[in-house]
Amino acid sequence: EAGVAQSPRYKIIEKRQSVAFWCNPISGHATLYWYQQILGQGPKLLIQFQNNGVVDDSQLPKDRFSAERLKGVDSTLKIQPAKLEDSAVYLCASGTGSQSPLHFGNGTRLTVT
């Protein structure tokens, strides 16, 4: 089966600019997660979707981050405006249910200068 696809692979922007990341999960997977990962640390959950509804966004900095999952398939994560501390890898993952193991994409590495 095809894995989780993410794009772009790398992005460099200046602070205060906007950026968007895209994720295409494994076909049929109902749950979709976005994580932020600082180099050498564990992934930090930003938002969890079940189909096209938000299940948990308690850790999402909503003043600058937004995410949507239209039609319960693809998802986009946006940062506007970006700060230096947003430099990280943004990982998308999908699973079959709320307690299932996750399949991850290879992430988007964001550098904010």
Binding site: G40, G42, P43, L91, P101
Partner: protein
């Protein structure tokens, strides 16, 4: 405070040595997962442990879930350079079942 505490944070060893990494919590979990992440890639599931005291083996990797289902360990026998990576433990937490990760253990195995 972290839900899952992993130790050590970093480990650098020679090829052929044995090692153990730990994942601890004060909470009880119905299951716990271990992932490995290589540079430039996303984490990949290694194993899920479900029963207290359970031991699972994956070639040279041995995973154990604590009797009280609050902690877990990963033991690697005769480590090889291909074992190099970030090892992460994770649990589903809360009513939503969101997957929460520990801080990870970075393992470097030198030839």
């Amino acid at each position: 405070t972290q839900l899952l505490e992993q130790s050590p944070q970093f480990l650098s060893i020679q090829e052929g040595e044995n090692l153990t990494v730990y994942c601890n919590s004060s909470s009880v979990f119905s299951s716990l997962q271990w992932y490995r992440q290589e540079p430039g890639e996303g984490p990949v599931l290694l194993v899920t442990v479900v029963t207290g005291g359970e031991v699972k083996k994956l070639k040279r990797l041995t995973f154990q879930f604590g009797d009280a289902r609050k902690d877990s360990s990963l033991h690697i026998t005769a480590a090889q350079p291909g074992d190099t990576g970030l090892y992460l433990c994770a649990v589903h937490s809360g009513n939503t079942g969101k997957l929460i990760f520990g801080q990870g253990t970075t393992l470097q195995v030198k030839p």
